[in-house]
């Protein structure tokens, strides 16, 4: 049987494209810094490097919602959900209202400095509303288990303060190298 001649130029072009895609440096859209290809967040300004940040954010929220559904028996009934909703001055990415005055607030971490402010805002809110609140900080980790310099800096005092006002703080961290993640 006659073998088909290899279209080398075509093959090479395809490999070249793949290499270009895999090994290109990721340029930060915000500060212009060139990051290694496997970074999710910019090593200089800590902003996400994904082409479409909304896709990453949505994926993180879905991951948390899935976990919530898997452990639904541990939670009170879901009453309502809201997106991009404010508590005080802070806009949360997703709010889940549960029965018996419980609330879960999802916040996708992008900037280190904000975490303490967010907790303080929710404390202020809960001084009046007296609800049972869980603030969930969603973080996407890279292969090494780091989220590229965004290490939550909430000190013990703030966490204690929050507890006094029925507020729990949770970090929901996901490794970006898992299966089915939007970054590939």
């Amino acid at each position: 049987m006659e073998e088909k001649p290899l279209r080398l130029d075509k093959e090479l072009k395809s490999i070249k494209n793949k290499l270009k895609y895999t090994y290109r440096n990721k340029k930060c859209k915000f500060c212009g810094h060139k990051n290694p290809h496997n970074y999710i967040y910019c090593e200089k300004c800590s902003k996400p490097l994904a082409a479409d940040q909304e896709i990453v954010k949505e994926w993180l929220i879905q991951k948390y919602l899935l976990l919530l559904l898997e452990k639904i028996s541990d939670h009170p009934d879901i009453v309502a959900t809201r997106r991009k909703s404010k508590i005080g001055k802070v806009e949360f990415d997703y709010i889940i209202e549960l029965a018996d005055n419980n609330k879960i607030l999802l916040y996708i971490v992008q900037e280190e400095k904000k975490i303490a402010d967010i907790v303080n805002e929710v404390i202020d809110y809960n001084k009046i509303n007296k609800e049972r609140i869980r603030i969930v900080f969603l973080l996407l980790l890279d292969q090494s288990g780091q989220n590229n310099s965004i290490i939550p800096n909430v000190d013990g005092k703030i966490i204690e303060d929050a507890k006094n006002y029925d507020i729990e703080i949770e970090y929901f961290e996901i490794n970006s190298y898992g299966k089915n993640n939007p970054l590939g």
Partner: protein, 412 residues
């Protein structure tokens, strides 16, 4: 009698039962009128949620495209089988229709249909969620029609009008289509308090769905979790909580008929099992007694149909049917023809069965145009009658006895 040459199955009892049940349903359905006025698209945000599990890609593509032509605010496809091909298909559609938000949810592990649906609802941003099966194709105005009844504040669930398209076996297509057309009559009769809002094409208020996520995911029977019949469960919750579940016959969508007779029978088995499970649940929780009379009538006839089949069988086995003997003798006397009793019995049985089936279609006032499209011949009626009598009815009896066997997706 079993031990005489006259033995043949004579389901008089069943035929009488069917005629009474069908004509009553047809009569009660007469009052129904579809919702002409109501909520319009500019008043609400609509999300379409399509749960998917091992669906044939060409059919899935048609389903998504039909949703796109209906111009909802967003389309969410929840894939539970983690195939890469679906992702590629959706990316292609996203590029083709950049103005419509098409989301794809896949988390690489099997969630089960109920969890997949609940995730879709949580992610959705619409006030109304249109649930579409991955093998179902909407008509261009289906969403406009299905949202109309939501103008009523107590309406939380709307059943669209599912019909079938042929994918292989003519028998399963014709039989399935007749069942869908019969369901159309039942839904018209039960409008306001439906037995089930079929998930092929349904719409719900998102608020209602969100509030019932925990009920749906933790629903159990005895010690086992119910993982089948999400549509039956949601309708049950709505009825139990005092909401209205209504039918919009003008919201048409066409679903893929089962390609083989075997698959059709397993589908019917699955439906019948969930039907009996919720019927018992209705009675146990007292919903049955609170429900309107027409709902109770429907449930009782559903319960009695396999019982009636058994009664007909017993009647055949233990009662001596003299009719054929008398008829055979009179034919011999008048014409001199000596027809074997067994053969005469068989001829009468087949003609009777065909006539009963044809009469049932007429009595139920099934959609004549759709029936015409099926081009049913007398031989079809006899074959369908035989399958109905000797396969479907014994199967419903089996389903009744094994209603606890509620399993996973089971569709493919």
């Amino acid at each position: 009698m079993l031990f005489t040459h006259e033995f043949i199955y004579w389901p008089f009892h069943l035929i009488l039962f069917l005629i009474v049940a069908y004509s009553t349903r047809g009569f009660l359905a007469k009052r129904y009128k579809p919702y002409k006025e109501g909520l319009s698209r500019d008043q609400v945000k609509v999300s379409v949620v399509i749960p998917e599990y091992k669906e044939e890609l060409s059919i899935l593509e048609k389903a998504i495209r039909s949703a796109i032509y209906n111009k909802p605010d967003e389309i969410i496809i929840v894939c539970d089988d983690g195939r890469k091909e679906e992702e590629q298909l959706i990316k292609k559609l996203q590029q083709e229709y950049p103005s419509i938000r098409i989301s794809f949810i896949s988390h690489g592990k099997k969630l089960g249909k109920r969890t997949a649906l609940a995730l879709g609802w949580l992610v959705a941003t619409g006030d109304i969620i249109v649930q579409l099966d991955s093998d179902t194709i909407m008509e261009p105005n289906t969403i406009n029609e299905i949202i109309k009844p939501f103008a009523g504040p107590k309406v939380v669930g709307v059943q669209g009008h599912p019909l079938l398209f042929n994918t292989g076996s003519r028998v399963s297509y014709v039989m399935g289509q007749i069942i869908e057309l019969a369901r159309d009559v039942v839904c018209k009769m039960l409008n306001g308090f439906l037995v089930v809002i079929d998930g092929k094409i349904a719409a719900y208020r998102r608020d209602f769905l969100i509030k019932n996520i925990k009920n749906l995911l933790l629903e159990s029977w005895g010690n086992s979790k119910i993982i089948l019949a999400d549509d039956r469960a949601l309708t049950y919750f709505a009825n139990e909580q005092g909401y209205k579940t209504v039918y919009q016959s003008t919201a048409i969508a066409r679903s893929a008929a089962e390609p083989t007779l075997y698959k059709f029978i397993t589908q019917q088995l699955r439906w019948a099992r969930s039907g009996y499970l919720y019927l018992i649940k209705d009675i146990k929780t007292g919903l049955f007694f609170k429900a309107p009379r027409r709902y109770r009538f429907q449930e009782i006839t559903y319960l009695l149909s396999p019982v009636s089949f058994t009664a007909a069988l017993i009647q055949t086995l233990f009662l001596n049917v003299q009719v054929v003997n008398i008829l055979d003798e009179s034919i011999l006397l008048s014409t001199g023809l000596n027809i074997p009793v067994f053969l005469l019995s068989l001829i009468i049985f087949l003609i009777g069965l065909g006539l009963t089936f044809a009469l049932a279609i007429e009595l139920m006032k099934l959609d004549k145009e759709e029936i015409k499209k099926l081009r049913i011949k007398f031989i079809d009626v006899v074959i369908l009658g035989l399958i109905g009598l000797f396969v479907i009815y014994p199967m419903t009896l089996y389903a009744m006895l094994t209603y606890r066997n509620v399993t996973d997706w089971l569709t493919r």
